[in-house]
Symmetry: C2
Subunit: 368 residues, 2 copies
């Protein structure tokens, strides 16, 4: 007899010499990262922002789509898009990163979406703040969690589900949290949650529920799959673990020179060049970026440009380098105002979440 378990199996770690599997490749072929040269743009153009979609992209009609607000509230609400668009309108630049960014570089490798370093983007999201809507609905005094339900549906590790993620009430009530219906000045694209998604500035992507159709207030902690099982930092499968929340600081280098098609090694001629990139953190503003050109052996300070996108957007940095013939490994590390920084050796967790290992950009500088 065919069972759910035939199609939807437990999580696993890759073996010591196991290459990327066809299952991981299926995810890599449909989801995608930011091509690193696109770090040049302050705001990531349509189609270049990273995407991580658990199930299928649903087809929703923006005219008939509604958002319900219910659960532990005094006045449940049902709102259509036109009503949401008539409410106060806010545009906010937000750097979003997948919680699994960097997973494929961990040893042992958790088998899931095999990100290298590129699961990031910085977009302008327009929508209406969530908090006033929750206040209008009237939160019960004993409200604990707010559950956000997407219209996407599938199976994961044996559990059939709508995609659902909860925020603690205090986080859901942050001024910055938006119900967004536009990205970069245009209606949301299907793959970014059309017609409505949640934006939780500073948090990893799993919190920014796409294809949003329901907001449910609970008087207890949400025990759904994405909060209780999936997005937790743990060493062993049975650990209770710690929830994945805000984005750890990271800097990425915009690779200098030109690439080799296959190896993506960067090829440069010797001489002075400016290396630049972006840095962000979900905890606090980035206060410094350091650059290495020897794979982490030595570090030099980069110059931080003035912020261009507000407190939740990435910040450009640059570093003047004189490229000498030979092989080099470039990287950068960000430090934020909370004192958090990036490791050169990555602490491991079983889901491969929230890691922010320093990037390694392979560079070949040709002889004079």
């Amino acid at each position: 007899m065919t069972t759910v378990e035939d199609a939807s199996r437990p999580s696993r770690l890759a073996g010591p010499d196991e290459g990327i599997s066809l299952e991981e490749l299926q995810l890599a072929a449909r989801n995608h990262g930011l091509p690193l040269e696109a770090l040049r743009y302050d705001v990531t153009p349509a189609g270049l922002h990273y995407l991580l979609i658990h199930y299928d992209i649903p087809a929703l009609d923006p005219v008939t789509h509604t958002l319900t607000v219910d659960g532990a509230v005094a006045r449940p609400l049902t709102l259509d898009l036109a009503t949401l668009r008539d409410r106060p309108r806010v545009t906010r630049q937000v750097t979003m990163e997948c919680a699994g960014n960097g997973r494929a570089l961990l040893r042992p490798r958790p088998v899931s979406q095999p990100w290298l370093v590129e699961a990031v983007g910085n977009a302008e999201w327009t929508g209406t703040p969530l908090a006033p809507l929750l206040h209008e609905a009237g939160l019960d005094a004993d409200a604990v969690d707010v559950v956000f339900t997407g219209a996407d549906h599938g199976f994961e590790r044996g559990v059939e589900q709508d995609y659902q993620r909860a925020l603690p009430v205090a986080d859901a009530l942050r001024d910055e949290v938006l119900l967004a219906y536009e990205m970069n000045g245009a209606p949301l694209l299907p793959q970014h949650g059309a017609p409505l998604r949640l934006i939780v500035p500073g948090w990893y992507g799993m919190a920014h529920v796409k294809w949003l159709r329901g907001v449910t207030v609970l008087d207890r902690a949400f025990d759904g799959y994405q909060n209780a099982v999936a997005y937790r930092l743990r060493q062993e499968p049975d650990d209770e673990g710690v929830p994945v929340t805000r984005i750890a600081p990271r800097a990425l280098v915009r690779p200098p020179g030109v690439p080799d098609f296959m190896s993506r090694t960067r090829v440069l001629r010797p001489g002075p060049c400016t290396v630049d990139g972006r840095a962000w953190s979900g905890y606090a503003p980035v206060v410094s970026v350091e650059v290495t050109t020897d794979g982490g052996g030595t570090w030099s300070p980069a110059v931080l440009d003035e912020p261009t996108g507000g407190e939740f957007a990435w910040r450009r940095w640059r570093y003047d380098w004189t490229a000498q013939p030979g092989r080099h490994v470039l990287g950068a590390r960000a430090t934020d105002a909370s004192g958090r920084s990036q490791p050169v050796e990555q602490p491991w967790n079983r889901g491969g979440f929230a890691n922010n290992l320093v990037q390694q950009v392979q560079v070949a500088v040709l002889p004079d």
Copy 2:
């Protein structure tokens, strides 16, 4: 001493048990396919069309960008975007597919961009026909090839190059070939060749040169890398090989039911359902599609919908299926008016090009 060969190595085949390498994964993370549920759209929305970018996406200024037409012509031309936009304007729906689609399923696997089956899209391209421009420039009587040069630059198998591909003169003069500056009614996105690209309806993607800056007419065959080395069908590295040109017929199934996150196996409940998808060929119109639900053992005819996008766009097909509990492997095969169809066992070539093996969609139908 660091040499080009350190960064840019010869092509190779994967070993018999070799998983996808980190080099292949780097390509898969930046390029991406069409999420198969997006086969629902007649016209592929922005950001869902497949992408294959050899080097970096260049940053070009549409105001100062020019196209030169030179070589074996009587009157060399230099045109800016405004001039091209003032010329006759044509919009054409074109299904484009990467020549390497399906490569990662070949045994042995050529090590390159590791596509499964999803390197396709169908967009509306707007631009001006190329042929009148070539006639205005005045082709020499002994013209043989027309070389199209992009602004993207890099290394490939040891060869530094601008991306350049040539068409035989007769193909370059086809009425349908466009210099395109819009996609789906909007200016080209950076990753699709902004501000100008070539569109060669019916041909694999390598012919549709992006970031187009030069058109050069030759009185001899073009011997550049992408024509003479890369995109050829060959069995051994030293074979002369046969050029990759038009798109072989292919049908894809839009996967029914809902997915498991990791395995992408489709989960269904038993009962009647309509399976649908798209079919296309670069040689001639698709005249029939057959569907298998047992991995190629038996085939049944699908219904072809009326064409919606003209002779170079994919065509929707559908098939009524009664899903019975158990495991099934769905696929479809297209046949075109030239008599070409799709194999169940794929002929192999060293580049992994132009293959059109029947897709295998794993389906688990749960018990009643």
